[in-house]
């Protein structure tokens, strides 16, 4: 399958999903007007990727400076998809990366940690 690469815009993050190196990155801001339209191809790719994935280690880096409330729901859906894959034997680790002193993003990361059991979500402060 092909990698998925979407450049960042003012209100959508960069999507860099690399299926050769098993590195999936979402970086930037997320507050599109039409949330479903933007994330539909992202989920489509992810489902296809997880479907053909073996036992390789997968790293998911989430580095969101800001996301709106409807993006927060999308992130939950995304983590649920990843957790199902982990329950299915896949090896996936999520790094939730936040800026120093950004309490809100840290808190969001902590809340996601509480919501998931088998999916590992590491909280990493970005070194400046």
């Amino acid at each position: 399958m092909d990698n998925l690469k979407l450049e960042a815009t003012k209100y959508t993050p960069e999507i860099a999903f690399d299926c050769e190196n098993h590195l999936l990155e979402i970086i930037g801001e997320s507050y599109p007007e039409n949330i479903a339209e933007f994330y539909a191809p992202v989920f489509e790719w992810l489902e296809a990727y997880l479907g053909q994935l073996g036992t390789q280690d997968v790293t998911v880096n989430m580095e969101l400076i800001y996301f709106n409330s409807s993006s927060s729901k999308v992130l939950l859906d995304l983590f649920e998809l990843l957790e199902d894959a982990v329950d299915d034997g896949k090896k996936i680790t999520v790094n939730w990366i936040y800026e120093p002193e950004d309490e809100d993003t840290l808190e969001f990361g902590e809340e996601f940690q509480e919501d998931f059991e088998s999916l590992t979500i590491n909280l990493l402060e970005k070194s400046s």
């Binding site: 003012k10 209100y11 507050y31 599109p32 007007e33 949330i35 400076i65 800001y66 709106n68 409330s69 409807s70 927060s72 729901k73 999308v74 939950l76 800026e99 002193e101 950004d102 309490e103 809100d104 809340e111 509480e114 919501d115």
Partner: protein
């Protein structure tokens, strides 16, 4: 109006408002307003996290206007036939050591009681209850008729330093004017 414009500016200043927009709100406009506000707040304050928190309130309020305002005008070129832009008011100010965001738009009469109940419920919740409610609602997914995740007001209440304030003013048989204030 021309002679009253200065009075209007003085009134905004008196209320602590340093930014005010009334008219059609688009996603592109929101990006520009957000950029100016972030820059201004970073310069005068507290730093990044306050700026992002104010910005996040502006995004939620503006997207509520975009999705739910009952007052609309035709979208200018380039657009498809029938596309419209929502009309509303957004204001940002500073008082008693806190930034605040005001927002207002027309809504259909039928939507008033449901929104009023929802916001009254949020107002009674403390931070722990808001967090729990947010997570439950996020898990459950949006209510019928919602164009987002149905989390905007809960998110704002969670991030606000004071309970949300809101008001409904009956305009005529069909519409009310909905206003809200969030304090960061």
């Amino acid at each position: 109006m021309i002679s009253e414009l200065y009075e209007f500016k003085k009134y905004l200043n008196k209320e602590g408002i340093f930014f005010c927009f009334s008219g059609p709100v688009s996603q592109e406009l929101l990006v520009e307003i957000g950029a100016i506000l972030k820059q201004k707040i970073k310069l005068e304050d507290a730093g990044n996290s306050t700026a992002i928190r104010v910005f996040s309130m502006v995004v939620e309020q503006a997207q509520n206007i975009i999705h739910y305002s009952a007052e609309k005008c035709p979208k200018p070129y380039p657009s498809k036939a029938g596309e419209e832009i929502s009309i509303g008011i957004i204001a940002v100010g500073y008082e008693n050591g806190h930034y605040f965001v005001l927002s207002g738009n027309m809504i259909e009469k039928e939507k008033v009681s449901r929104l009023q109940n929802k916001l009254t419920g949020l107002k009674k919740m403390n931070k722990a209850e808001l967090k729990k409610h947010y997570k439950e609602q996020r898990k459950k997914g949006p209510d019928y008729g919602s164009k987002g995740a149905g989390l905007g007001f809960i998110d704002m209440a969670k991030k606000a330093s004071q309970p949300l304030e809101f008001d409904f003013k009956k305009i005529d048989e069909k519409f009310s004017f909905f206003s809200s204030k969030t304090v960061i």
